[in-house]
Point group: D2
Chain length 354, copies 4
């Protein structure tokens, strides 16, 4: 940590700063420049994080030198983390050579539409099924999801297709229930800093898909992952889904640079949600290709058998043929990125056998 | 709701759009322009909110005509809502002629510092006490608040000073507990769209101080209030506390225009938190004056007996003399705004009598 | 300047960094922490600004210690700068005790409307007249201003009312022409980093009203002022006019905190343009009051005799009675801020005498 | 254009609105909803753009139906525009099947470094050379470019390598001079709405590379292109280079979605500048791949023989081997996108022959 002092600092103020830092167990080192004095603080920055150093008289600014995340930092792990989803016998690995495409409806609206979607996305090469049971909606008057009933449908769809199931949990009181039915607990963007919820999913043994908040920096996303990991659950999958922007052309601003930045900062796998980033189905293919080209470990995509009938997110949902076409379009980009995508044909064979 | 269609829409697509809208119980009205056809939808927009109208073939854009909030809308109430805090005998009224200044430490760090702060801010003219028991912190390694113990201290401070107590609740499982000890339930900025929590505080009879999320539009803030109100709790106080910005000069960007916009849109009272908006104690006075001049119903300000010793938010906390000076500086602005501020002298007399 | 190095820096890389810095005439000072080495660079940062230090192997980040602006920095001047507008005999002083309200139409649309506005705003207490001759318009098909003809009308309005005239210059080839007719050269927000133009207005002896760019940080605004001042023209007036934001409720986001930040950083006077910040006439009064309360030295406001007939910016223009009402509403806030506003009555007397 | 009226509109106000619209030559069509009246305006919206319709009593909001750009709109052209750079005999085509990679130093710092870079980037497959002669710098004290001298060096580099030359022009007085030496006139991001400059480059017959401003919407970028095209110059190349964002992890936020949005909206070619988007050389390869995957027509990349010695933008410049590696990495992505990249080997042969 580096403390830049004000031009008019007094010797007594400087002494107080040094004593304050040293009382936290760090050593200090003073550099006297021509116009400013800088105090270098040697030792564990974290000891100083929560205090009022920046509020002391004579302090102009405090700059941390070390990253605030530890378990999520790339240095913490010898290599990229592989998160295993689904059955122990035939797990889906997120973060390995094979890209992970997760697809399904925004909301589970019924058993028939869910199964139709599940079979179709599996046939096209998706390896996991998404579907909302509890929906965060801006309006209290909008459809809030089918809740527990939808969890049962998701479990049924998994039984029929073999696809592990990803669904959002919004309430710490429901973590256990959702973990009973789902293979992956999704933390939605609006809950990225819901620390009660992060701690709760940190205490169960289910992979967590953690979406970046609309106004969260990349460092804040990693700190949210740290909350989960600090409770003991190391299976965190990060997801860029577009951040708050000011151009009305898209629903959010897809921060594709977050992918390589995260790859440099952390060992955790990184997915992209192009559907929420764009908010428009016509842009989903281009953003999906860009995500893979930037180094993402996979995608999570909204697919609906009939987007015009969708009870939520219709405009950004692909219909079944469009998803099929997208998967075909992705293959050469996956190859260009040195990654693999499950073949659509093989998936169909597996379906027949299932 | 107005539906603008694509230039190449077919008659069959236009029919399908009209049927879709009419199936929801609305009437349609078609305007044929030189280059585009527009379908006006007459009736309750809300019936169409959750569907896939925008995903239908031939639809270019959908523009709502009516505001999505109802209970929070200004039209819903004959006049400004007055929220009553504290004892029935001597309540504090938020939203009336008298401005409401709430002050206290970011975190409750101990009984002595809390009482010292409470007496000092009351003497200076504050009418309620803030203090964090459960703290949302970006890092899992930072001080998380004293929890239940702090709630007891807050209740004790109220007993000693008569000041109603405002504290944040972050977990729906703790709403009941917090409501037992506190007079106002604060929903923090990061939880503005934590819908499980909003619904839960909507079911208790305690005023709610709802902070605007860092990337929430004003309309989204009002929709969050609607969540609370739709559960039966109409005592919602809104709070602008700075939004996500890109200038590092301040911690957040204080959107002072939100104050008059909210005053035009809703009957609910509007406070401003200049401490989080600025992130720097030296800016708090100017932003406080600006907030009152813009029409705010009051302020919520972080005050600490020794900011350099604070366990959180030290750099943005005022010390006790600075708060006293601020209150003096605010008085002429309160008068200019046609509002009153409790006199510091009277507050001190009351203290002696307490 | 502080250089934080990478964890794996080699001794040779460290030596190269030190030699690089020392070759620019600075001294270096090395702090060896437990995980990182920091190189403190002692001397004039500016010598290093334009080089590739941050690109050297082993460098993780470079943090400047000193502010990049010199002439605009508060330390450069013994006190606040007073900029004098208009005639030497009865100048208007910007930055003194008296607040400066500049008002007038977005565009000069004709002689009659300009004179009507000029007389009315003077009667209400405005001390200078604004009016666009050359208009920056997003569309090439929109009204671009009356150009030279409008300059003549502005000079005529000054002759009739005694009000100094403020108008925008967009083209370095026209600086001389505009300076012949106008008392203040306005640099619009979109041209804040038009360095050819900044240099050109820096070479004439006319006060410059420099608007903050929609995506400019406060530091960048001060660097733009530095461009003008470095050419010899020290009469720069800064203007906050709203920055790029993402809430559609307002045209821009009024960054009221920029006012106290600028007051702390620079000796130059600071005005606020509430009309462009809001984009809506109904918000202009609240934002104007907030600006004065935050410490602004004055306002520049769009006023039109018939906003519905305006050829540009109608929705954000006040009509004449609304401007009159605003001036009355501002007076107690000016007094609360310890400033004065010219009395409307006196202004009217002066008008009769003129 | 659709006019939504206020709930309390009077019949006289409604009549006035209709008369206002009809006076501009449009027809009106009134839809009476249950709570609001909407006035549809049929005809050329543009006739109403510059007036005060939104300021009329009784108007709540005005929503345009048609896009404001005409020459730049996709409908204006039968197919994608191909912009030809350089010699008539062997032109480089931007916007065709072959991707266009433009590379070179941020600033021309001398003849030797320019030629070394030019030969190296040509050998790696670049088809045009970039290099700044006049540099827009935030600080007046930073290196401003070598000016005219650099133009001569660029022309010399073209003569030696056959690469067409791209350089920025910042001053309308210098457009003619720059056009004499350069093959493409670059308009920098900060000048995207410098309308005097846009008009001037619209009057010469040189292709224009128009960079998106840091706070410009995609629609505003297209309107800036419209300014150039309206003067007669139809050879406009658009360039996404990152927009203003709030995450300090990158210099700007690369809005990769702008690529497919622009491809849907306009016939003009679209390049990406990953160097300015990232601000960090290590991210340039990932962003370049993402750009091609999203459908960009090419890239403009900063390359320097020794980034640590660069006088500007060192941290984001690739060195020569890194650029060579990038071109190799791009090839499979180009193929996946169905596009071609000039082969590095062929380029080298051509160099020998030159």
């Amino acid at each position: 940590m580096l403390v830049v002092t004000t031009p008019d600092i007094t010797p007594a103020q400087l002494d107080a700063i040094r004593e304050h830092v040293e009382a936290a167990g760090l050593r200090t080192h003073v550099i006297r420049g021509e116009q400013r004095i800088v105090v270098g603080c040697i030792g564990d920055d974290a000891a100083l994080v929560e205090d009022g150093l920046a509020a002391m008289p004579g302090v102009e600014s405090v700059t941390p030198v070390l990253k605030p995340y530890k378990l999520a930092a790339r240095e913490f792990s010898a290599g990229p983390t592989h998160v295993r989803l689904g059955s122990a016998a035939r797990p889906v690995i997120v973060g390995g050579d094979a890209l992970t495409v997760i697809a399904g409806p925004c909301s589970v609206e019924g058993e028939a539409m869910l199964l139709e979607t599940a079979h179709a996305v599996r046939a096209a090469g998706a390896v996991a099924l998404r579907g909302g049971a509890f929906k965060p909606r801006t309006s209290p008057y909008a459809f809030q999801g089918l809740g527990r009933e939808a969890l049962v449908m998701l479990a049924e769809a998994r039984a029929r297709t073999g696809l592990p199931v990803v669904t959002e949990v919004m309430d710490p009181r429901l973590v256990e229930l959702v973990a009973e039915h789902a293979d992956v607990l999704q933390i939605g963007a609006r809950n990225m800093q819901n620390f009660a919820l992060l701690s709760e999913v940190g205490r169960v043994q289910r992979p967590v898909l953690l979406k970046r908040g609309p106004s969260a920096t990349i460092a804040e996303l990693l700190m949210a992952a740290e909350y989960v990991m600090a409770q003991g659950n190391r299976d965190v999958i990060l997801c860029e889904r577009g951040i708050k922007g000011w151009d009305p052309a898209t629903r959010n601003t897809f921060d594709v640079a977050a992918v390589p930045v995260l790859k440099a900062e952390t060992h955790l796998p990184v997915l992209v949600d192009p559907s929420h980033a764009a908010g428009r189905a016509d842009l989903v293919p281009a953003l999906s290709c860009a995500a893979l080209a930037a180094g993402a470990d996979g995608l999570i995509i909204e697919v609906h058998p009939s987007p015009a009938e969708a009870r939520s997110d219709g405009p950004q949902s692909l219909d079944l043929p469009a998803f099929d076409a997208l998967m075909a379009r992705l293959r050469p980009f996956a190859a260009a990125a040195g990654r693999t995508l499950p073949a659509a044909e093989l998936a169909q064979v597996a379906e027949v056998a299932a």
